[in-house]
Symmetry: C2
Subunit: 295 residues, 2 copies
Amino acid sequence: MIDIKHLKTIATLKDTGSLVNTARELFLTQSALSHQIKDLENKLDCQLFERKTQPVRFTPQGMLLLELANEVLPKVEATKCRLKESLNQPISQLRLSVECHACFHWLLPTIKEFNNFWPDIKIDYERGFSYDAIPDLLSDELDLVLTSDIREPDKLEYAHLFDFKLKLIVAPDHELAKKAYVTALDLKNETIISYPIPRERQDIFKHFIQNARFDGTLKNVDQGLLIFQLVSAGMGVAALPDWLVTPYESQGLIKSIPLGALGLTRPMYLAMKKDMKDNPVYRHFLNTCKLNNGR
Amino acid sequence: MIDIKHLKTIATLKDTGSLVNTARELFLTQSALSHQIKDLENKLDCQLFERKTQPVRFTPQGMLLLELANEVLPKVEATKCRLKESLNQPISQLRLSVECHACFHWLLPTIKEFNNFWPDIKIDYERGFSYDAIPDLLSDELDLVLTSDIREPDKLEYAHLFDFKLKLIVAPDHELAKKAYVTALDLKNETIISYPIPRERQDIFKHFIQNARFDGTLKNVDQGLLIFQLVSAGMGVAALPDWLVTPYESQGLIKSIPLGALGLTRPMYLAMKKDMKDNPVYRHFLNTCKLNNGR
DNA sequence: AACTAAACATGAACTAAACTCATAACCAAC
DNA sequence: GTTGGTTATGAGTTTAGTTCATGTTTAGTT
């Protein structure tokens, strides 16, 4: 129905002011355009512009299309441009750092899929992770950082990958297991098991317990699977992203509970230098992540 | 080349995972799609996805197109929807208030053009103007406000119309006329002529002189043309938007000078209630303003 | 390794859409 | 009314898109 061709016509018509000029600009005959627009007007069942003035005067409907054209055409051009670029790419390495341990669950398959298309691009994610990777990104020692927190938004581009819910996991016979959701108070005396990350950088403290009193203990474990086993054995509770939790919960190994009445939703971003945001390889990595999110 | 049709195909392919399913979804034969995509791939000179997996696996190039589709298709649908709405509109009145006197210069022709298409919609701009119109917009006594300042951004939608430059105008033989630009200090002892608006709401004070010392006098005039005559006669200086200044300057009646080395650029917004931002009549008024800006 | 079912590819024939050409109609300015 | 510009229209042609019938590929099964 509406076509990119039509948007081009409308946009050019706005610039040139008449059908004849538009025809010349688009390498078509005036007749072709006259037919084209008449057909479009018939299909949309409305008039798009008045032809008896110079320049032509757009109707409200014409302006809506013009507005659409102004939004869409630049995007189409940008994509065409990226397509060309993507076919000959000098990049050979992506140095990636991950702030969220649980991400490896979907990240490894994602990287594998990505490497199918860019076998020459080596992804180096073998960095320690309990550190702040943003400075390394700024100083060009890293290319990409997977993170939930936005820092230095002026210097870096944060591409939103997806949102996830942080859930509390407890043993099925834990007293909290019956609750529809937990409050910060409920956690006051619990043992919280987590990856070895400083407390102030853990989502559950930073965004849930916050200033509430916490008298329980913190236990660090560097093995993801171990967390589930410890929780299942009733040795403590843990806060993990929903995508990690779901498979274990459906096995009945643990029970998951929302943090707060509304649950705690957190975003996941891919941070990169601002000038890299249009790079086709980066975009491909981004898109691959999005398609594989939370599985 | 790239067509909306193609974007639909790609988007559906992502959802359904195979050509056969996509064909069924789009009411086409599998063969048609196979041809369609082959043609597209030939034109773009790249492969868009691997067909030998289930679901199909997109190449970097395919993902770029998919990304484009996700951006563009919703906009196209929204426009189609607005087009339909625009053809039968119950609105019969637009109550408009204008915070910038100088806007009448382009606003009156704009309204005339607008009324060509919506003869039944009466625009009521006959309100006093040296007052803050935003509260009336919030309390539903107004529909639209033309303003340069954003207030209450949570409750109102501010559609950007255009940017303009505020210029200082002086008599051609005025001592400032030789300068490439003026500083706040240059104005210290000048007589500033303006519309009858309180000093703290005048752009030249709010955004240029600011806290700098001003020992000159303020003269109020409620007639636009009179300002030019007074300035031309050397009775004072004035700050006005570029679109008003240009015609008089080319006649040699006055001389205009940028405010500050970089000039003083100001935006112009059309403020409305948030739920009105998709209304086709409002959009048409907005678009008409944009097309007539600063003339 | 052979078989099967499901998915995709291909070529020829057909259809519908889009374009051109020639010409007519229209409008504004002189 | 004539002129110089514009847009509209109808018939004929070209091109792009579709279907049909059939061939090929692939993953999964025995």
